[in-house]
Symmetry: C2
């Protein structure tokens, strides 16, 4: 077979790493693929910038969308980013011209995954997106190929390295969220505008893709219930430790009888759960299948090397002739799943209250919980009376979230409760 | 494309589970593959035995080797086992007749992997063996496809669920090896003849396959240094805990400048290493690549469901038209790696001695270590004087194994040392 011709749209750290590996490791990759892979075109904003890769003889395009349509390439890499605009044009032009697409763009696919998959399958081209979810971890390959004999009923995990780094550092140092976020920004582990990461949106993009490929359902980002980690305090992390839990921002997708649950929120996981030990910038994804049981895949969730590794695995698959349905079954057969609302969640809860340090408070709180049939498992009260208020921590037995929310609304209205209650779900994974 | 026709050689628990999934999940698998997968033939010893699967209309062969040669099938499953004999004949006949092979047989491939790969690639057929290593964990797929852009320099992990179950139970209960082994046999977690498992041979078979596919080297089971877990005592497990380690039987393959290291032995891993938390019958494999960094894949290492899941993923790949080089590069390009002998290992060590409870013993032991330039990191002495002898535990700073072995030989000859020294390597993974 002749060489596979690759055009790279976007020469940031990931694009440059992909070019570097494809060029410097040409022979090994050719041996693995049975054919050579050539970088034939690139597109980036600044042509003069030295990226440490020898791109002489490679065609340069100022406009990546134009490159996608006209470059003499079989595969177009979209490594530009953004849920619309140029990134979307690159993918659409590539597919329109009958070229395969490989992208690391979770936002784009979370918003437009189903129509892009339909277009790609009509054109009989691949859309590779291993790099879009959990960096170098081959979770899309595991779900779409490795577990193809399974009915998958859950896929969940730590999908955002920035949040996991912040939560790990908060636990290790006892510092507060804002403080650790600032440091993460200085260290380059968090963006100047951290919204996508700390508010859970990035994890939700990835979760929507995982749910689609795991369950064979249309990608439905709008159906993801999303909460971030800004409200987690150093106190919560300490109390979690005391109760035998660690706080992690998880993406959780479950296929249940009523439909599909898709949720991103910080939650407490038991210390002996595999996810409790995934720390710092690492990601991990748990898949539960009816034949394979529980599998955990763990690794670097971001960074130029791991992301480039995933991009290249998609290119290698294409070189080997693999063109699979984008979301595990043909796009025409993707089902539109019923969304299970967060109010239906059943599980235990942690609640931290800031209350006035006076008699009768616990009785009032207990009454509010009883009214909504929420039963208390444990109650912790610790000294530290600041300005006359003290933290009270409760864990609640398994209950339905709608009841929990009603109980919290009652509690928030109590005169003796001086701050909005902080509720964290407990996930006994 | 027409249906893919599958013949199943061996209807034990795995073969029956594969048949059950292929038949009961026919439509979902067809949607995922773009073509139907039909079970057309089976072979097993006892035709009358009810396996809970409806095999009416499926051709029956009394002889699996005959089935491999003559069944009207595209894919032959070898689920019989054994490193030679009928299993080997099934694979050879299938390849000879131009049929793809899928097998769960680690022993066969560890002994005959390279010639079988050569024959298969000449015939342009696949040999799938995802089920041969770490059960349902898609580690072969990860190494051969997911990490195809990487130079892999290490692959290591917990590859034998029986040993991991025994070590976990010893730690949790404080009981001795023989006692826990007997119980594991009663529970069906260990074979009546446990040799393959507890002496490390099964893990070594799997390691040889992992090394081949990770490094693109000829499979070389004979080059694996193998030690089992029979000599691990309840005391060792207690001391490990005290020192901040867990004892795990690991398979470790490293590609280094002098050549390839392939080793199976029980060792101490730090409590914060991912592998320390993989307990019971679970397996986990760590791969280290120069782009992706460190990835960990964890899951059920055995059992009918997980093994069937892996077998079906290989069948699905074949249905989708994937015929890859068996060990990641074409068999003709596999290199014959230099074997790095165990004597060259460099690392820290744990040694437990049983010594007479009298003055001067430590001085004698220290002198023996100094003679071989082995330096002591820590020394623990605990009461428990039984028959006048006491355990002494040492940890040694990083040293070369040859020196360590010479020091141990000196120590074993001391009059005050009353039992052969127990040495356990420390792996700071």
């Amino acid at each position: 077979m002749g060489p596979l011709r690759v055009a790279i749209g976007g020469l940031g750290t990931v694009g440059a790493a992909v070019a570097d590996i494809l060029i410097s490791r040409k022979d090994l990759i050719a041996a693995r693929c049975g054919r050579q892979i050539d970088v034939v075109a690139v597109s980036a904003r600044d042509r003069s910038y030295d990226r440490g890769v020898d791109l002489s003889g490679v065609e340069w395009f100022d406009d990546a969308a134009e490159m996608a349509a006209y470059a003499d390439a079989n595969v177009i890499l979209e490594l530009i980013g953004g849920e619309d605009g140029i990134a979307k044009a690159v993918c659409e032009n590539a597919i329109g011209a009958g070229r395969h697409v490989v992208t690391a763009n979770k936002a784009l696919l979370a918003m437009h995954g189903t129509p892009l998959a339909q277009a790609a399958e009509r054109a009989n081209v691949a859309v590779g997106y291993e790099a879009a979810v959990a960096g170098g971890i081959p979770i899309i390959k595991a779900l779409r190929e490795g577990f193809a004999g399974n009915g998958i009923f859950s896929v969940h995990g730590i999908l955002n390295g920035t949040c996991n780094y912040i939560l790990t550092t908060m636990r290790e140092t006892g510092r507060d969220f804002d403080d650790v976020l600032s440091e993460a920004q200085e260290l380059g582990y968090a963006e100047a505008d951290p919204t996508f990461d700390v508010d859970g949106i990035d994890a939700a993009h990835k979760l929507a893709l995982l749910a689609g490929v795991a369950f064979g359902t249309e990608v439905n980002f709008g159906a993801v219930h999303v909460e971030g980690i800004r409200h987690i305090s150093a106190d919560d992390i300490l109390f979690a430790e005391e109760l035998g839990y660690r706080i992690k921002l998880l993406g959780i997708a479950n296929r249940t009888d009523p439909g599909v649950e898709q949720r991103v929120y910080p939650c407490m996981v038991p210390m002996d759960a595999p996810l409790a030990h995934v720390e710092g910038v690492f990601n991990a994804v748990v898949a539960e299948g009816d034949a394979v049981g529980t599998s955990v895949l763990q690794g670097a969730g971001a960074g130029a090397g791991p992301t480039a590794s995933a991009v290249i695995s998609d290119i290698v698959d294409i070189a080997r002739g693999m063109v699979l349905p984008v979301f595990s079954v043909p796009a025409s057969k993707l089902t539109r799943a019923q969304t299970v609302p967060i109010g239906s969640r059943a599980g235990p809860y942690y609640v931290r209250l800031t209350v006035l340090d006076r008699p009768g408070v616990i009785a009032d709180v207990s009454a509010a919980l009883r009214e909504e049939e929420v039963s208390v498992e444990a109650l912790l009260q610790r000294g530290r009376s600041e300005k006359g208020s003290v933290p009270v921590v409760l864990t609640l037995h398994e209950t339905v979230e709608a009841n929990m929310q009603r109980a919290l609304a009652r509690i928030a209205e109590l005169d003796t409760v001086v701050e909005p209650p902080c509720m964290i779900r407990i996930e006994n994974l």
